[in-house]
């Protein structure tokens, strides 16, 4: 991957060189690294390790609040119960379906937006600022937008068919396709950010590469494949990871958009966990199940890294 010199760097470097260099006792690489990273790691560990440890404790116990608080050690019973629970497997499936679709749509739409924005002339560059706006919307807000937008009662579908003179409703939040609709909304939310990073890559791809492509008489898809795409691959990899993690963790967006509905059609794993732990206070069982989710998130990102990230890093 070509590493491109950045002109912005020249000035401060020159200015700094002109200044008088202060001389002090130097730290080794490791010492410097430790000074910088250890406090942060400690902070994250303390703040994150306690909840994790506590969740681990919960997952081996049956917690009761009624008729007096009690925590009874049950070993692996909660984990076994989760694996035997059809609701768990169903929600797991919905989570995976939502995640795969969200990632594909986010990356695809992000790439499409970037290509559209790339060719704008200076006079129209402000459009780039417009297109990024959905990313500024909270997942929570996006859920509200897409709830009203998709419902047959209030949504765009019904508005359109009635504008063409048809009676009736066109509802986008259906048992069959609610996950797809949710994924579309999640992509709406996240794709602009992806687009911007890709755009930044594209704008620093040297023009001469395109000129060479012309000389070689490449077709436009060949140009795309051989010239446009290669410098984007690392960004694509990073955002595939980020949007995978975010999609698997998504809760508030679904909470405000469908409440896991219609019925149980969008009860993804996070939503199921929320019901078990938060609503039913079945803390032990919820904690055990949440470790499966954590394993899923780590496993998926690990897999993406092993299959793709390693190659990108070597370049």
């Amino acid at each position: 991957m070509p590493s491109l010199p950045q002109t912005a760097g020249a000035d401060p470097a020159a200015a700094a060189a002109a200044a008088r260099p202060p001389r002090r006792k130097e730290l080794s690489n490791l010492q410097f690294a430790l000074v910088v990273t250890v406090p942060v790691l400690l902070f994250l560990l303390v703040v994150v390790a306690y909840p994790l440890g506590y969740a681990l404790y919960l997952s081996f116990h049956e917690i009761r609040f009624f008729g007096g608080y009690s925590a009874e050690f049950v070993g692996l019973a909660n984990y076994k119960a989760a694996l035997a629970d059809p609701k768990f497997w169903r929600s797991l499936g919905l989570s995976l379906r939502f995640t795969v679709e969200t990632v594909v749509l986010t990356i695809g739409i992000g790439l499409a937006l970037a290509l559209v924005l790339r060719d704008l002339k200076p006079r129209w560059r402000w459009l780039r600022a417009m297109i990024i706006l959905p990313w500024a919307v909270s997942p929570y807000g996006a859920g509200i937008f897409f709830a009203y937008f998709g419902r047959g009662q209030t949504g765009i579908g019904t508005a359109l068919i009635s504008a063409f003179g048809f009676d009736g409703t066109l509802n986008l939040i259906t048992q069959a396709a609610v996950i797809e609709y949710l994924a579309l909304g999640a992509a709406w939310n996240m794709a602009p950010l992806v687009a911007f990073f890709l755009l930044a890559n594209m704008l620093t791809t040297p023009k001469r590469l395109y000129d060479l492509a012309k000389i070689d008489r490449m077709r436009s898809y060949e140009t795309f494949w051989h010239v446009t795409l290669p410098p984007l691959r690392f960004t694509l990899f990073v955002f595939t990871c980020i949007s995978t993690v975010l999609a698997l963790k998504t809760f508030d967006y679904i909470f405000t958009e469908t409440q896991g509905g219609p019925g149980n059609s969008s009860t993804v794993l996070t939503y199921l966990l929320y019901q078990i732990s938060f609503v039913n206070l079945d803390l032990g069982y919820g904690a055990a199940m949440s470790f499966f989710l954590l394993a899923l998130i780590l496993g998926t990102t690990g897999l993406i890294y092993a299959l793709w990230g390693r190659r990108e890093e070597r370049k």
Partner: protein, 284 residues
């Protein structure tokens, strides 16, 4: 890229992109300017027929009298909306500053130095990105109760940092990796490592750092899951938690839309800023 006229496909594509971007937002934001009856109408109205600003007055605690004499009473949620606005700005600003102060050197070190245990330490930082809030919610809550942090801004800042630090670190590491190898030059000139970092690297990476800061800000500004549990009903309530009052029980779509619109303004200004720096933020 030197054609003088835009091809038709590009104009079409831009139009589609704009529709895709704005239609879902418009669909709800238009409610802010409509009456309850108009909002409920079926089939749905495409635009407000008599746009009015009642909802904006109401969410800030003022009654609004329409031209025909109808009074739209102030929302009882107004206190919380205003508190939420203040708290959200405060929390997001603090979180952003702390995140940047902490993450900049961290990302720099991971991106540009070699030292033992680097991979493991990086994995530890990134592990916290993977924790789903729904599974840590109850443990966090229990911890916070013991520490007296429920309903405090400080508590919310701490928990939000666990989200922003890893994400921002992830992005900045990629960005720093891509800078030219300037250190060697600086070292030859005898600058200290800190000096190189503060006076050379940071200015060089200005755009990328600002963009990463914006991203940190937005993650904090938009956080809802923890806020819903930790600060709802307290003086530390944030805007998303305060807003959700319009979502449940009694329908107030106009006020919901108005406060959503309000919550979009700060990020929108920031997005404009982000756009200016787009050419300089090559992270890969």
């Amino acid at each position: 890229m030197s054609r003088s006229r835009y091809p038709v496909w590009l104009i079409l594509a831009v139009a589609v992109a704009l529709l895709w971007t704005f239609l879902p937002m418009y669909w709800v934001v238009k409610y802010a300017f409509m009456t309850k009856s108009e909002i409920a109408r079926f089939p749905p109205e495409l635009y407000p027929h008599a746009p009015q600003l009642a909802a904006f007055y109401n969410i800030f605690g003022f009654d609004y009298t329409a031209a025909d004499g109808t009074v739209f009473p102030a929302s009882g949620q107004a206190n919380q909306i205003m508190l939420g606005l203040r708290n959200s700005l405060l929390v997001s600003a603090i979180v952003t500053i702390v995140t940047m102060v902490v993450v900049l050197p961290l990302a720099y070190v991971f991106a540009r130095m070699d030292f033992p245990f680097k991979g493991k330490m990086l994995a530890a930082v990134l592990l916290s990105v993977s924790l789903p809030p729904v599974s840590t919610l109850i443990p966090f809550y229990t911890l916070y109760v013991q520490l007296g942090l429920v309903g405090t801004l400080g508590g919310l800042v701490i928990i939000t940092l666990t989200i922003t630090i890893p994400i921002v670190a992830w992005l900045l590491i990629g960005f720093f990796k891509n800078l030219p190898p300037i250190e060697a030059m600086g070292r030859i000139d005898g600058f200290s490592r800190l000096y190189i970092f503060v006076r050379i690297i940071v200015p060089m990476a200005k755009s990328g750092i600002l963009v990463a800061g914006v991203i940190g800000f937005l993650f904090s500004w938009n956080e809802y899951v923890y806020a819903q549990v930790l600060v709802t009903g307290s003086d530390a309530v944030t805007l998303p938690a305060a807003m959700s009052g319009f979502l449940f029980q009694v329908p107030e779509p106009a006020q919901l839309a108005a406060s959503l619109f309000l919550s979009l303004l700060p990020p929108f200004f920031i997005a404009f800023f982000l756009q200016k720096h787009v050419a300089e933020m090559n992270f890969a």
